[in-house]
Symmetry: C2
Subunit: 256 residues, 2 copies
Amino acid sequence: MTFMNHADATTDPVVPPEGFTPDQLESALRSVGVNRYHNLHPFHKMLHGGKLDKTQVQAWALNRYYYQAIIPQKDTALMSKMTDREMRREWRQRYFDHDGIGEDLGGIERWLVLTDALGLTREYVQSTRGLLPGTRFAVEAYLTFVRERPLLEGIASSLTELFAPAIHSERIAGMLANYNFVEDSMMGYFRKRLTQAPRDVTFALRYVREKARTPDTQQAVIDALIFKTEVLWAQLDALYMAYVEPGLVPPGAFKP
Amino acid sequence: MTFMNHADATTDPVVPPEGFTPDQLESALRSVGVNRYHNLHPFHKMLHGGKLDKTQVQAWALNRYYYQAIIPQKDTALMSKMTDREMRREWRQRYFDHDGIGEDLGGIERWLVLTDALGLTREYVQSTRGLLPGTRFAVEAYLTFVRERPLLEGIASSLTELFAPAIHSERIAGMLANYNFVEDSMMGYFRKRLTQAPRDVTFALRYVREKARTPDTQQAVIDALIFKTEVLWAQLDALYMAYVEPGLVPPGAFKP
């Protein structure tokens, strides 16, 4: 038995008694991405490297759909905690990005374009019948976290967007190059996120730098970001377990 | 790649338009256990069959501790929804069983006796620092479910106790026979549950049979029990993934 470890709890930032400066806090948050972001997960590497077969890519798209689907609930939960009108007007762009507005049908629709093209019916995808329980629990943990924790921690949990553009551009290039069943038209979701995520994260990072000024709140925002990396990591763990190795599909979940 | 499937979604009971009789409902609930209870999981078989090493048994006890630790929160959440005093007085026995009362220190303490004897410090176990995120998300999904769903569904989710005595007696015998680091004094939790679970489940089953009289509520109680089997299954999936195969320990989790 070999144990593959990507990070050690001892690498997680600990706020000193005197606290961090805003720049130190930002560095600490970025280090969480270096040590814990799901680009380090073997499923991610297989996906981009062309090592999956079509049914494994279907399983990924099917499960990841549920994460996409709850994003508007997550963002409106955050907005429901904002007393400041300007802040809600800023944040609602994220909500529009996913549910659509005007001509733009939004990110969930773009994800369904991907699952359509992979040969999954919308009825099946949207029913979430075939979802892995590990996906469901991780995704719903994110929603519960954002609903129950203070606004500052909810916003901090969105900072995985700091690390997203790199993964998205790698994904577009890798999937197009490596899978004959993936076409450019299926990559709309990721292409759009290349410009959306940096815009969103600028606001969130500024907010966290400004509001997290005590050692306790600084540790809380770091822990919120760690929590979020665990939500993403656990989704790939569930996929790997069920569809790569050992290939143990839980009762009721999607079967290739 | 081989896919091991233990149950198919098509084996899950579907309530007919005319509904089930109470006996039919009970049969349907019992069939969920046959097809989905975690005694079917390979980790469970390894645990009882002596196929794990001591660090893998430590990982199991450490993670399962978190499930034990939230049981009193789960039961008091249910009690907070009960308007009937007699019902609360009935249900609180479960709460006493875990938090202890009088001379009895309760099930959580009995679990800590097990983790003590396995060489894990109480500080480490109770901090939940080494927990697998998959464990945390599954366990907290159970708590969220019980808090947010109607009382009837919360009670129905407890009916995995119908299937527990068999697994507990198998566990006591299997672990004592197969591991030289397991002694009789460590099995107190499971030995106690042999008498507690049947007493508890008698009340819960009677309640569900009596209150779930429409097709919709009958389907809801079946789905609640399915959900609960997924909570248990996902915990063993996370252990198997991290500590058996492929042995991918998520960042920050317990390392053997």
